[in-house]
Symmetry: C2
DNA sequence: GTAACTGCAAAATATTTGCATCCTT
DNA sequence: AAGGATGCAAATATTTTGCAGTTAC
């Protein structure tokens, strides 16, 4: 379900709805952070969020808010090799801390935006005898649509 | 190429050979850390290494040694969602910081060991129009052979 | 002997915790 | 009013940097 560009009001309603659905108090900080995720496609690292919200919120509040969102299944973490966890909005099938993200993540080496490629499904893998896998995480690296060289 | 259990001398020779091949001085610290990787199959986080080498080496030396090994292509990093980078030995095709690990990593949720499944090849993926991928990282989570429930 | 490596001290950065206060419901 | 959320201070933990002493070659 790809969303067309939304108005600020629509995003705000959406943020409120997400918080309500998860039994969370509707506060300025939580809405502000949810807005960031709803406004754009990319995943965000803690540092990104800190820069974007400016001085308005305490660093500790951001840590706690992100943790709360992960626990509730609102966002999920994306592993990266550079020791900076990124967070992205979960789709509806995530709930209560049980994430079921079977899509592929894509990190652009040019603009450094991390995308959730919801349409690219994690492939089935055949594991060696004795290994049982419950979850497979795929992170691709390359050049995204926007950074593609023109011709 | 699965190695049978090796003697300490064999591991030591192997460590020396790796350092020599990469134009690195052969020092106690580097050999000690290489031994850890050569002695077992799993990947190691910085903290694991620190515990295993005991008080014998400075924490800073471990940081620098790991960085050196990554730069030389001796080890590679494995992304994890819990913000703790793990390192594992590279196969021969890695060199000079250009890693070509097309195998899958497996994190056991019971023993927390991270394995490189060299025989499980990263599957080809079809990306949306405009996206060009140069590298795909796959990390599977589940129960490993040793932790598998008996019956 | 010289360049590279290491340890120590310290700075910079990142993350967690406790508690008092404020805000949402 | 009550419980949860936030800000602030401070404790911890992690990573980086500079420099002087030591070691490998």
């Amino acid at each position: 379900m790809i969303m067309a560009k939304q108005t600020v009001v629509q995003i705000d309603n959406q943020a409120t709805e997400i918080l309500t659905r998860n039994n969370l108090s509707i506060t300025g900080g939580r809405k502000r952070i949810l807005h960031l995720f709803l406004e754009q496609a990319g995943a965000l690292a803690h540092g990104d969020i800190e820069k974007k919200v400016g001085e308005k919120f305490d660093r500790v509040t951001i840590y706690r808010t992100l943790q709360t969102f992960v626990d509730k299944g609102i966002i999920h973490t994306i592993p990266t090799a550079d020791n900076s966890i990124r967070y992205a909005l979960c789709k509806d099938e995530c709930s209560g801390g049980h994430h079921h993200d079977h899509h592929v993540h894509f990190v652009c080496t040019v603009c450094h935006i991390t995308y959730c490629l919801d349409d690219v499904v994690t492939p089935a893998l055949k594991f060696p005898k004795g290994y049982t896998s419950s979850h497979v995480e795929v992170v691709a690296e390359g050049v995204c649509r926007n950074c593609k060289p023109q011709h």
